[in-house]
């Protein structure tokens, strides 16, 4: 079960994930990112403070956006990942492909720098 919220802050779209992302709930994550991109945000921050677990399908969602976001010059930054979750990202080598920061302010800073 997962609960996904979207809030806007200083021109950035923040996607807050609370719960676990598995094969079925990954669809919701996909939808949230797609909507955010569709709304034309260029800075998307993903708040993973409440993310307890992510399966390969959930990782696949992030992965599937890498190319598209690059083409559209949209910058996606994840922050607040729990150790377990971060471990999953790094084992798969996704940590090298995605922008990951520890705190929200760091993430915001990175997004601001990238989007200049």
């Amino acid at each position: 079960m997962v609960h996904i919220k979207r809030l806007q802050e200083e021109g950035a779209d923040i996607i807050v994930i609370i719960g676990e992302i598995d094969a079925s709930s990954s669809i919701e994550l996909d939808l949230a990112i797609a909507k955010s991109v569709g709304d034309g945000y260029r800075k998307i921050l993903v708040d993973c403070n409440g993310l307890e677990y992510i399966s390969s399908a959930g990782l696949g969602v992030f992965m599937s956006y890498i190319e598209e976001l690059k083409d559209k010059k949209v910058y996606l930054v994840l922050f607040g990942l729990k150790e377990r979750v971060l471990n999953t990202f790094s084992i798969l080598g996704l940590a090298d492909l995605l922008n990951i920061r520890e705190t929200k302010s760091d993430a915001k800073k990175l997004a601001d720098e990238l989007s200049v």
Partner: protein, 687 residues
């Protein structure tokens, strides 16, 4: 069946014989009376014969009409009419004979007149009994305990009267009067049972009216002729017993006339309402069609069409449309006698005027919407009625009915269409549930196939060498995953190993797994470096894997000549390596991104070549995340530490024993045989 037929024949024969005896005994009695001679036959004989004749006929019709289940209402009336017709034709034929005889002395002969009278009386009573039996069936069409008792009492009373008639003893006039009064009252009460009329349709009512009218005509004709004849005979003889003194016949006649008159009037006055009954019946049929449309393997579309048709015919609408949500943004429109453009105009008009309520069922909505229609120019419609169609509390569409008349819909119509709409909603919901069940069954079947494919892709035999031994274990969950492991001998000194986990589940996972197997078997035999292997595999897979799918893998080449393990990790779980010399187990965490993730960039920057010098006694455990992520009842994961501890305990043993220990620990930890993900492990023990 045979018995009934025999009984009908027997009773009809009996009736005929009794009538013949009746006629001749009566003539004999009459003859003796006129000539003042002592009669050869007793005076009571004709009366008894008449009674027997009546009883025989009563049973004849009981078998012929009452027991015949195939007769419907008009058939019953037809039977009465037909009996009347035959009787009248015979009677008229006799009359014609009399007329032809003209001035010969025979027509004036009292005995001959008596014969004619007896013929007419027999026919009349026959007709009355046929009518009586038919009426009985009509009255008892909708039985109740009370009604059956009343009828029994009525029949019993009639029988008593019949017996009383024949014994010819006047007990007391009060008693006989009371009996007559009681019979009349009962007959009258019974005559009010006219429920069958409601079941006739318009055409049947007209037929019934005609049949009843003709039957009344026959009754009047017979009453007239029998009365005239009996008057003629009784003027000349005192021994003659007039039928008018036969109380039973009079009671029977009265009952038949009462009921036939009532029936005629009731049918006549029900004529204007018959269309309402037919309408109601049609509604029931429509209702049934909507609810049954699902069982007959029809699709949602046919439910919509039936709903549209039934609603239009139920409320006599001039046009209608049905708007269904097809997807989130799309609408599907079904129309009846209205163009899509016209309906669009009306909807746009309603929207423009901000008219809400087209979707909720308030009672005064008809009026509201109709009023707003008035302001729409060029529209021929003046009344609009809208209903939501709901599935699981969610509105999936709207049914709109239109009329050219203002105020064209009444409350009754609103109710029936609302019921249709609800039923359609239920039907659609059922249909969707059934579809879902089918889908599930199909999905399960698909999984079965995927599982077979997956199992067949795993090797049955693993490469071995004097330097090392390999054991592998794989258990899959109900939901098929995509765990893959394999070995391949490159040359005398080198053996390639792979362990991989395909993202996703089901058929797709099995399909990707087979691709991975193909890549492994074709690339590995060329003996590339592990990094090269990964780069080439990635290149091949990028074109096969859809967006969001990837494969994590680790590829090993064990060289027994140089005593080295070359490997490259592409996003797969880190290798657990036990060094016998130091007696410690560590995870080899090194850089590497899963296959299929990097598409545009140079993948060779995301994987590395690694190597290990192996010593005898070293152990290498390869596994998939199903093992480390296995959970116990408390929701804790098995994790790397428990895995390492399991290896540490049994590192000195053979690869098979190490593996068995690991699996044992894993199942002990999870506490269940049911696994959520695939467990796959490959243990390499160096010697």
């Amino acid at each position: 069946m045979f018995k009934t037929k025999a009984l009908t024949r027997l009773t009809s024969m009996g009736a005929l014989i009794f009538w013949v005896v009746l006629a001749f005994s009566d003539i004999t009695v009459l003859f003796a009376d006129i000539k003042s001679l002592p009669s050869d036959v007793p005076q009571w004989l004709p009366q008894v014969m008449l009674d027997l004749f009546i009883i025989s006929l009563f049973y004849y019709y009981k078998f012929k009409i009452e027991r015949d289940e195939s007769l419907n209402f008009t058939d019953l009336l037809w039977k009465v009419f037909a009996t009347g017709l035959i009787a009248t034709v015979i009677s008229l034929a006799v009359r014609l004979l009399l007329f032809l005889l003209g001035s010969t002395p025979l027509p004036t002969n009292i005995l001959f007149i008596d014969l004619v009278y007896q013929i007419n009386l027999g026919l009349f009573i026959n007709f009355l009994l046929a009518a009586y039996t038919s009426w009985k069936r009509l009255i008892l069409y909708q039985k109740s305990k009370w009604l059956i008792r009343a009828w029994l009492a009525f029949e019993l009373l009639l029988f008593c009267i019949l017996v009383y008639d024949s014994i010819h003893i006047v007990v007391s006039s009060t008693l006989s009067n009371t009996a007559i009064l009681l019979v009349s009252a009962l007959g009258l009460i019974l005559s009010f049972n006219m429920r069958w009329v409601a079941y006739l349709n318009f055409k049947q009512k007209w037929t019934s009216l005609l049949l009843l009218l003709l039957s009344i005509f026959y009754l009047v004709y017979f009453l007239y002729s029998v009365t005239i004849l009996s008057d003629t005979v009784s003027q000349q003889s005192t021994a003659f017993i007039d039928f008018q003194s036969h109380v039973f016949s009079i009671a029977l006649l009265a009952f038949v006339i009462t009921y036939i008159t009532f029936s005629f009037l009731v049918v006549l006055f029900n004529l204007p309402t018959s269309s309402v009954f037919e309408q109601k019946l049609e509604e029931v049929v429509s209702f049934q069609r909507i609810s049954q449309s699902i069982q007959t393997e029809q699709n949602e579309e046919s439910v919509y069409n039936i709903l549209l048709e039934s609603s239009v015919s139920a409320v006599f609408a001039d046009a209608a449309w049905l708007e269904m949500k097809a997807t989130d943004s799309e609408q599907k429109l079904y129309t009846h006698k209205i163009s899509a453009q016209e309906s669009k105009d009306i909807r746009a008009h309603l929207e423009k005027n901000k008219i809400k309520g087209a979707l909720d069922q308030s009672s005064d909505k008809t009026k509201n919407l109709s009023r707003h229609l008035g302001s729409l120019k060029n529209s021929r419609f003046r009344s609009l009625l809208a209903f939501p169609i709901k599935v699981k509390e969610e509105t999936i569409g709207t049914l709109a009915l239109l009329k050219e008349l203002p105020e064209g819909f009444n409350k009754e119509m609103t109710r029936i269409v609302s019921a249709f709409a609800n039923q359609a909603g239920i039907s659609i919901e059922n249909f969707r549930l059934m579809e879902e069940a089918f889908q599930n069954a199909r999905y399960k079947e698909e999984l079965k196939i995927a599982k077979t494919v997956q199992q067949s892709l795993l090797p049955t035999k693993l490469e071995t060498n004097l330097d090392f031994e390999i054991s592998a274990f794989s258990a899959s969950a109900d939901e098929v995953g995509g765990d893959y492991y394999d070995t391949l001998r490159i040359n005398e000194h080198e053996v390639a190993l792979i362990i991989a986990d395909v993202s996703g589940k089901g058929t797709t996972a099995a399909f990707h797994m087979s691709q991975m197997k193909g890549i492994f078997h074709s690339l590995a035999q060329q003996g590339p470096s592990p990094k090269d292997f990964m780069t080439k595999a990635n290149k091949a897979l990028v074109y096969c894997l859809e967006r969001g799918s990837f494969i994590s893998a680790t590829y090993f080449v064990i060289n027994t000549q140089t005593k080295k393990v070359h490997y490259s990790r592409a996003g797969h779980c880190p290798v657990l390596y036990h060094q016998a010399a130091k007696d410690q187990s560590v995870f080899l965490k090194d850089k590497g991104t899963a296959l299929g993730m990097v598409r545009s960039l140079d993948y060779s920057n995301f994987v590395e070549n690694q190597e290990i010098d192996y010593q005898p006694g070293d152990v290498m455990v390869l596994y998939t995340d199903g093992i480390t992520e296995a959970k116990n009842g408390k929701g804790e994961e098995f994790g790397g530490e428990r895995l390492a501890a399991a290896l540490q305990d049994s590192a000195q043993k053979s690869s098979k024993e190490i593996e068995e220990n690991l699996i044992k620990r894993l199942y002990e930890f999870s506490g269940t045989e049911d696994i959520n993900d695939d467990y796959t492990s490959m243990t390499v023990k160096f010697q």
